[in-house]
């Protein structure tokens, strides 16, 4: 098992593509996405109506080697600044296969 940093990025679903693009630019080759996330935060309710993706979030989960973590943070931060959302970072072990 290998030490990694686990990122969890919650942002409007409209920006899902921006997040994965930013991750790819930061050299990330694997990530997962949950596409049906609702929530509440500084920018009000994102209660999930189907009418527009503005009121629906997604959650991107990425595990990266510890040394790559800073680069990922820097790639995500401008998106959070522009559009809001949350990015949590924690420690995890990756089960090798």
């Amino acid at each position: 098992m290998k030490s990694v940093k686990r990122f969890e990025i919650i942002i409007e679903r409209l920006h899902a593509r921006d997040v994965t693009d930013a991750l790819e630019r930061a050299g990330v080759t694997g990530y997962s996405m949950l596409r049906d996330v609702t929530g509440t935060g500084d920018r009000g309710d994102r209660a999930g109506d189907e009418l527009t993706e503005v009121f629906r979030n997604c959650c991107v989960i990425v595990a990266v080697p510890v040394e790559a973590a800073d680069k990922v943070v820097e790639s995500i931060r401008p998106l959070l600044k522009a559009y809001g959302g949350v990015c949590l970072v924690s420690d995890a072990l990756w089960v090798n296969h």
């Binding site: 409007e12 409209l14 109506d49 189907e50 527009t52 009121f55 600044k81 522009a82």
Partner: protein, 324 residues
């Protein structure tokens, strides 16, 4: 004022289902139409209205009158956001004013569809080209709004990643526009061959699907009403005055170019309605500083119910007086 038309509209299944949805949300019932069912319903409505518009367009052809109407529609889609921006700018910053301008310059497909249903019910004919007009009116206001915002404040348009390419893409290639224009084209191409065999899918369930979709719109609109406190009296008034003013202009222009009663109503509804599906997404991407808690509830919880419940019969009674 012809009250019987308004009451007749109120006692109409689609409008009643809208009110049922509103009522259910008010009493906090757990009635819900879970995602992505509303998406399926709206895909169906767009496909249906597009295809039938195409079939009728193929039969009617592209006369000078049709082209004039399309020109008027595009002109209104460019002008409405212009004055709307300057009016709202009196109270709000550039990003929010631009977002509201784009919202009211663009159109609400569901309001249009409800008006179409209203016309079919009362057997008033209308041209298939009005569907093309709706498709043409979806996007220009978005671009105008963003231009205005950037002109009055370079800083409104988000992060460094801003690009006009993205704006145009989002405005002109969003799913609703593509499906609508695509179905219109397919309807026009296959008018003779497929119109009959597709009728059972495209025509028959139309009104029922509209009922189900309006039920959901009622639920969503009522939930968004809570957000209206934030928007204040000024925006609340704007959300009622704008549709009436724009619909009136639409009616005037329809008279001017000699449009029929049905086309006049649809033009009024196109001018008077506000977008809450395509525009919020495009605006959120291009003007991230605009607060969707303002422009969405205005369109969804005030202007939409106003048009569907009162506006359509009101505009119709005006048109009937003036045209006869």
């Amino acid at each position: 004022m012809d009250l019987s038309l308004i009451i007749g509209n109120l006692l109409n299944a689609p409008v009643l289902f809208f009110l049922l949805g509103t009522a259910a949300a008010w009493v906090k019932s757990d009635l819900e139409i879970p995602s992505p069912i509303p998406k399926l319903l709206s895909l169906y409505l767009l496909l249906s209205i597009g295809f039938r518009g195409g079939v009728e367009l193929a039969h009617g052809g592209l006369s000078a009158g049709v082209l004039t109407m399309l020109g008027v529609c595009v002109a209104m889609a460019l002008l409405v956001p212009l004055w709307s921006f300057f009016i709202v700018r009196l109270r709000l910053d550039a990003a929010n004013a631009a977002a509201i301008a784009a919202t009211y310059g663009s159109v609400s497909a569901v309001t249009f569809v409800t008006a179409v249903n209203f016309l079919r019910q009362t057997n008033v004919p209308f041209g298939g080209h009005m569907v093309a007009a709706m498709a043409l009116m979806e996007s220009p206001a978005i671009v105008v709004g963003i231009v205005l915002a950037r002109m009055s404040d370079r800083d409104t348009t988000g992060p460094s990643s801003f690009s006009w390419g993205k704006v145009f893409h989002e405005a002109f290639l969003n799913g609703a526009v593509v499906l609508l224009l695509g179905s219109l084209a397919i309807g026009a191409i296959t008018a003779d061959k497929d119109a009959k065999s597709l009728a059972a899918f495209v025509d028959h369930p139309f009104k029922g699907v509209l009922c189900l979709f309006l039920l959901d719109m009622g639920l969503v609109a009522a939930r968004r009403m809570g957000d209206l406190r934030r928007s204040g009296l000024f925006l609340g008034l704007f959300a009622v005055a704008a549709p009436m003013a724009h619909a009136l202009m639409g009616i005037g222009l329809a008279k001017l170019i000699g449009a029929g009663v049905g086309d006049a109503l649809l033009l009024a509804v196109l001018c008077g309605s506000a977008s809450y599906i395509a525009v919020p997404a495009a605006v959120r991407l291009s003007l991230p500083k605009a607060n969707p808690g303002l422009f969405v509830p205005m369109a969804l919880a005030i202007t939409f119910p106003f048009n569907v419940v009162l506006g359509i019969p009101l505009y119709m009674s005006l048109i009937q007086r003036w045209w006869t």
